[in-house]
């Protein structure tokens, strides 16, 4: 589906944002792309869809080289940017304008999104609030139903009920042939929705794993002094720790703890995940 080999990208000479980055992804998953601000999440999404051209390395997405921007490739990919810009028309006209570009467009998903998000169909989108515009943009992103869907901070600007609607819509619209990558730092919004995680730090991917695999290899739970852990955090419920799961415990993966553990103890993580 996606294969990046030693991909490097720099906006300014000698200050790479992506540095010999390697990445392999398979279809049928919802990936959460996590990283601190300014670590290159958006840059990576833009490289994947051909908006930015890497200076080095090999980038293949669904068999295409994104920077060639072949029509067949562009029909199969959709990028929902963090800040959406929409034409000054109603959502109905918006659908009429953009649906023809996407051969897999699904009218049923389009209608469900408009209904679930309660988008006013007779109102010009320029008169809408930020949150409503975001919902309109998400509607097209999901209805386009492309094999690869990239979403950059999709829950930013959404109110609390809309975040739940968003999770339901993604869960209902995606199928086994689709890959969804959602970049976020609002991990709690998406914890239950994603099934795989990519953690970016220092211009590379530090972890690319299914949550299933994460829970097999690591435990996340309150710990005592006797537990062998490599990352701990003080919380109101006591000390929470992350350690190697040698006893086959079934503890819930905490994305926040995982993120901290991966970024602070990359060597330990690497050792446990390559065993």
């Amino acid at each position: 589906m996606i294969q990046l080999k030693e991909v490097s990208f720099a906006y300014k000479r000698n200050t790479p944002v992506l540095d010999k980055l390697n990445l392999k992804m398979t279809p049928g998953h919802i990936y959460g792309l996590l990283g601190k601000n300014g670590e290159g999440k958006t840059t990576l999404l833009h490289v994947l869809c051909g908006l930015l051209f890497p200076q080095q390395g090999d980038c293949r997405v669904m068999g295409y080289v994104p920077k060639e921007r072949a029509v067949g490739f562009l029909q199969q990919i959709y990028l929902l940017p963090e800040e959406v810009s929409l034409p000054d028309v109603t959502i109905v006209e918006y659908g009429r304008m953009y649906a023809p570009f996407f051969p897999d467009f699904r009218k049923d998903i389009w209608d469900t999104c408009i209904e679930s998000f309660e988008i006013e169909t007779d109102r010009r989108m320029s008169k809408m609030s930020l949150g409503q515009r975001k919902k309109a943009a998400i509607t097209l992103a999901l209805a386009a139903h492309t094999p690869l869907l990239l979403m950059d901070e999709p829950t930013n600007g959404l109110d609390i009920p809309s975040k739940a609607v968003f999770r339901r819509l993604v869960a209902s619209s995606m199928n086994d042939e689709q890959t969804v990558i959602i970049s976020t730092h609002q991990v709690r919004d998406l914890e239950s929705l994603i099934d795989s995680v990519l953690i970016m730090e220092r211009r590379r991917i530090l972890l690319n794993s299914s949550l299933d695999e994460v829970s097999k290899r690591l435990f996340f739970r309150p710990v005592t002094a006797d537990d062998n852990v490599f990352y701990t955090e003080q919380t109101p419920m006591g000390t929470m720790g992350v350690g190697e799961n040698v006893l086959n415990e079934e503890t819930p993966v905490s994305l926040e703890l995982l993120f901290q553990a991966v970024t602070q103890q990359p060597k330990e993580i690497n050792r446990i995940f390559t065993r």
């Binding site: 049928g28 869960a171 239950s192 994603i194 819930p252």
Partner: protein
């Protein structure tokens, strides 16, 4: 749906399905909602629900009919009670005992409290 912090989401979903079987919402040999339907209802990834189904199937609480979906086993209720009994004895009791020891609660205190509870 809200998820607590001390159990994997897939186990919590499996628990909800078990609750629905015990309450009679899902009946023996009836089809339960599909992976996708439950994923939408619970706002979770379909792959997570699939894991819950696999676990329930391994415990003979549901069974799969190819192409038709998942169905409640006739012995599901019994299997769930067996599973929860084991869970109670192996996981919950030790934490109760630990707390009793810490606070100096005797077995007599416990049995009196239990008497009061069942006679209420």
């Amino acid at each position: 749906m809200n998820y607590t912090n001390n159990q994997s989401i897939f186990l919590q979903i499996a628990d909800r399905i078990c609750d629905r079987i015990l309450s009679g919402e899902y009946k023996a040999d009836e089809r339960i909602p599909s992976v996708r339907e439950l994923a939408v209802e619970m706002e979770v990834n379909p792959n997570t629900v699939m894991r819950s189904f696999e676990r329930l199937q391994a415990n003979e609480i549901i069974y799969n009919k190819r192409g038709l979906g998942y169905f409640v086993s006739p012995s599901a209720g019994e299997e769930i009670r067996k599973m929860r009994y084991t869970q109670f004895v192996e996981e919950i009791l030790p934490t109760v005992f630990k707390e009793m020891q810490l606070l100096g609660v005797s077995v007599e205190d416990l049995s009196k409290a239990y008497e009061r509870y069942i006679n209420k």
